[in-house]
Structure formats: C-alpha cells, structure tokens
C-alpha cells in the first residue's frame, strides 16, 4: 500500500483548505445591523399589535419620547423632554446605543414626527431590527407663530364616503337634466394571474 506513504499532496491540499476557510471566515465580517425579525413576523406585528398612543396618556413614566424630525425642526419646537433621533441617522452608532439602552431599561420608545406617516420609516426599521417595545404617537405637529401645536389625529380615517358623494352629485345633476343619466360603472377588470406552477423538484435516479 505504497500510496499511503505519499502524503505530500494531501498536506498541500490540507494547508490550502485551511487558508481558504480562514480567509472566508475572516473576510465574512458580520454586517453591523442584522434583521432579527423576518418579514412575515413584521407584517403580523404591524397588523395585529396596537402600537398607537394618543396624546392624552403621554405622561406614562416609562415612555421615552423620540422626535424623528431633523435637527432644525427639533430645535424649532418639540414636545418636552423628547430626544431627537432623525430617521436617516437611526442606524448611526450613538443612536443605536441610545435605543439599546432604552431597550435594556424596559422603557417604551414613543416615536413622533410632523405627521404619523413620517414615523413609519423609523418605526418599521426598529421593529425589524428587533427592538421589542416601540410605539407611535398619533399626533400632527404644526406651528402657530412658531409655537408648537400638537393635535391628536386618528390614522387612516376616511375623509368622506366618496361613492355616496358621486351618487349624490349624479342625482343632483340628473334633477337638472330630467333624462335618466346612465352612468356605466367602470367594468370590473378581469385580472388573470398565471398561478405560480409549483414545479416540483423532479429528479430521482
């Protein structure tokens, strides 16, 4: 069994592999920020959890108010003892430390901005990065002779029943013209989607 003595090649191969593995592991620097919540759980969280806080129960001790607007807006006027973390710098190091510290102290981060829509970005980033207790202050901020006014607002309230408005306008118009106005509702668009054929990984010997 002469071949067992020939180990020159295998030592070269072994050293080469170790080099490659080392380079791979070293070059693989874990990205600083990693999602801790995958997208399906995030979706469930934002659909089910009630993360809205209204203006009146704001003085709960373990709420930490966070203003997500930029520096200038924050200086102009902010709710008292709110800290300023602009959405674009949410991933910066000191902001991450602040948020981690809030997380450790079991405090609830209460985000607010000019309008609730602007807070969405920061809120979703934090939930996906794994911060547990993040809430949104449903509030509109505006300035009256540069005095900050915050008004409560409900999210996504439908302004008017549009269909009723249209029908009513049609009725009003037809009263004027007497003739029955046939308004053809836009035909329902048939949208056929080719079902994603689950091509089974066929194979086998």
């Amino acid at each position: 069994m002469k071949e067992l003595e020939k180990t020159k090649r295998i030592s070269i191969a072994a050293t080469l592999t170790i080099l490659i593995v080392l380079i791979a592991v070293l070059s693989f620097e874990r990205p600083k920020h990693l999602y801790k919540v995958n997208s399906i759980n995030t979706l469930e969280k934002i659909v089910s959890a009630d993360y809205f806080v209204s203006l009146d129960d704001i003085n709960n001790p373990n709420y930490v108010l966070i203003d997500v607007r930029n520096q200038f807006e924050y200086e102009k006027g902010n709710i008292e003892n709110a800290i300023n973390i602009t959405t674009s710098e949410i991933l910066s190091d000191n902001n991450t430390d602040i948020l981690k510290e809030i997380e450790e102290k079991e405090k609830i981060a209460l985000l607010y901005g000019a309008r609730p829509n602007d807070v969405n970005g920061a809120f979703l980033m934090m939930t996906q990065l794994g911060y547990k207790n993040v809430k949104i202050l449903t509030v509109n901020n505006s300035y009256l002779d540069n005095q900050l006014i915050t008004k409560n607002v409900t999210i996504e309230k439908s302004v008017a029943d549009i269909q009723a408005f249209i029908d009513e306008s049609v009725k009003k118009a037809s009263k004027g013209v007497k003739k029955k106005v046939v308004v053809k509702k836009p035909a329902k668009k048939v949208i056929t989607v080719k079902k994603k054929k689950k091509a089974p990984a066929e194979g086998g010997c």
């Binding site: 071949e3 067992l4 180990t7 090649r9 295998i10 191969a13 592999t17 194979g203 086998g204 010997c205």
Partner: protein, 175 residues
C-alpha cells in the same frame, strides 16, 4: 514506457482522493443545486433504447412514460452528460498512469469466465436495486449525505450493511 509501466499500480492517497471528491460534490451543489449521480444515465439509455425499439410499449408502460417527453429526448438529461464526462475523465487519468489495456481483472484463484458471470449477475442486481432505491452509491448515498438526507443515509447503510453481510459468500471471488 518504463516509468509509465512502473506506476501502474500507484494510486492517489485515498484521503486526498476523498478530499477532492468532497470538494467536487460541494462544487456540484454550489453550481447546479443537485448532487452527482451515475445510475440515472443507465436508466436514460434503457428508456431511449426501448423508446426507439418499441415506442408504443414504452408509451403505456408506467415506468418508461415517466421519462419520455416529446420535446426532449431522454438522453438529454444532466446525468447522461455527466456519465459522458466520467468516461472521458477516467480515460485521461488511466492514460496518464498507463492503466489502459483490454483485460479482465479477477483474483488469480478464479477463471475470467466466472468473474464475467459474477459481474453480469452483480450488474443486474445493482441495476434493479438502484431503480428501487432511486439512486446508487454516488447518487443517493453520497449526494444525499452531503445534505443530510435521511433517504441517503438509509440507502448508504443498507448498501454497505448488506455488502458486509454477504461478503462471506463471495469471498472466493476476491481473496
């Protein structure tokens, strides 16, 4: 030719061969997402032969019809190309080490005719078993083990277990 003749029986260090083989399996999975295989090529050739000889019979036989599709001939599968590559690769390696020559390799104790008979019998058994288990040692066992597939491990254990068990009966052929 002298040097060539000398290292006719000098093979690689098995650990080195195994290591390269492992890297090859990794590469195959990385590029194509599937393992290597061998008996699939034989199956495709059988299907093509039967399809050309008796297409009607092939159509209504449950097994053949699985592999006959009109737009692609059965020979156009991944495994057939891979088997082709195996033949070429082995030929190159054999050529380099001078192992190419028409011969029947058998233990000195038995005649080459007996060896051929056992080879045929072994082949038939292996062909049958490979179809039932949907894979052979390299296809099901090795590629299956690389991704921890339970089927792969069961097949590997069954092959080597039964081989060890029945080794006693065929010992005159080898030792």
């Amino acid at each position: 030719m002298k040097n060539n003749q000398k290292n006719r029986h000098v093979y690689w260090n098995p650990y080195f061969g195994g290591f390269l083989f492992g890297i090859l399996i990794l590469l195959t999975f990385y590029i194509t997402g599937r393992g290597i295989g061998a008996s699939g090529a034989m199956k495709s050739s059988v299907v093509t032969i039967v399809d050309t000889v008796a297409p009607t019979h092939a159509e209504n036989n449950a097994y053949y019809s699985k592999f006959i599709s009109d737009e692609k001939s059965p020979m156009n599968t991944w495994l057939v190309f891979e088997a082709l590559g195996v033949l070429i690769g082995a030929f190159i390696s054999g050529g380099l080490t001078g192992r190419i020559s028409w011969r029947v390799q058998h233990s000195p104790k038995i005649t080459s005719k007996r060896r051929l008979v056992f080879a045929l019998g072994g082949g038939i058994l292996f062909g049958l078993g490979a179809q039932i288990a949907r894979g052979c040692t390299s296809g099901a066992a090795l590629s299956g083990m690389a991704v921890l597939s339970t089927g792969g491990f069961i097949t590997m254990l069954a092959i080597f277990g039964s081989a060890f068990a029945f080794a006693y009966f065929f010992r005159k052929n080898w030792i």
